[in-house]
Symmetry: C2
Subunit: 142 residues, 2 copies
């Protein structure tokens, strides 16, 4: 799991910098309740409420950067905008089942899927960032 120090190390390794904004955003995700995920707008609102406003452009730039580093995972849980959550390693790694009508989202775990994902990436010589099984379905209510 990341903290300010490991984030700084990882950023500096790649020629990037640790800024208060980046640290703040990482902390929001670390403190985020399990099973929750935020859109850029959500983050903006949350940071404003916490009295630590960060410009929306920086928010977009930061979540994209962290997703490319493998720190966050980018989720397509609803049409039209992306959500982000910490990219947690085994055994916290999980997947999503989404109702395409009402957007109800259910998390579920599968070691098997994670294994298949890492094996496939390894076999082809790719460096794995994220592996997510998305099940699109219609829930019993819809």
């Amino acid at each position: 799991m990341y903290d300010a120090n490991s984030l700084k190390a990882e950023l500096n390794d790649r020629g990037w910098r640790l800024t208060p904004q980046r640290e703040t955003i990482l902390n929001v995700f670390i403190d985020l309740e399990k099973g929750k995920h935020l859109s850029a707008e959500d983050l903006d609102t949350l940071l404003q409420e916490q009295g630590k406003p960060i410009s929306l452009s920086t928010i977009y730039r930061t979540v994209k950067l962290m997703a490319r580093m493998g720190i966050l995972r980018e989720l397509e849980l609803a049409e039209g905008h992306k959500h982000y959550e910490l990219n947690q390693p085994y055994p916290h790694h999980h997947h999503h089942l989404i109702c395409v009508k009402c957007n109800e989202t259910i998390e579920f775990k599968s070691d098997a899927v994670l294994k298949i994902g890492s094996k496939t990436a390894k076999k082809l010589g790719f460096h794995l960032l994220d592996c997510q099984l998305s099940i699109h379905a219609i829930c019993p209510q819809c």
Copy 2:
């Protein structure tokens, strides 16, 4: 696999209509080379080249409709726009490994993942539309 008749039946069942545009678009996907997938723009260009132009709004409306019916699957292979391909049943069902830097995309199959997907949906009482494992990674070249 769908053809004009089964498409018509399925549409009519839900109070929708079979139009020449819908049939044309379905046929493009049926004839599409294995492993290919189209964005809305791609479809627009292709249909124009084939001398069967369809307005971009109708293209968007149609692919979305067919994705919600489970006929097409919506793929997020590159930033900024979606791609579509036929949603084929076992044993043609497959998944994607994507390099987040150069967007190189590799298809792979996994019966195990498909099984996990259908079991999970079934267990929760959801009607399965699509189940896709997306592996985000960095390819050896990048």
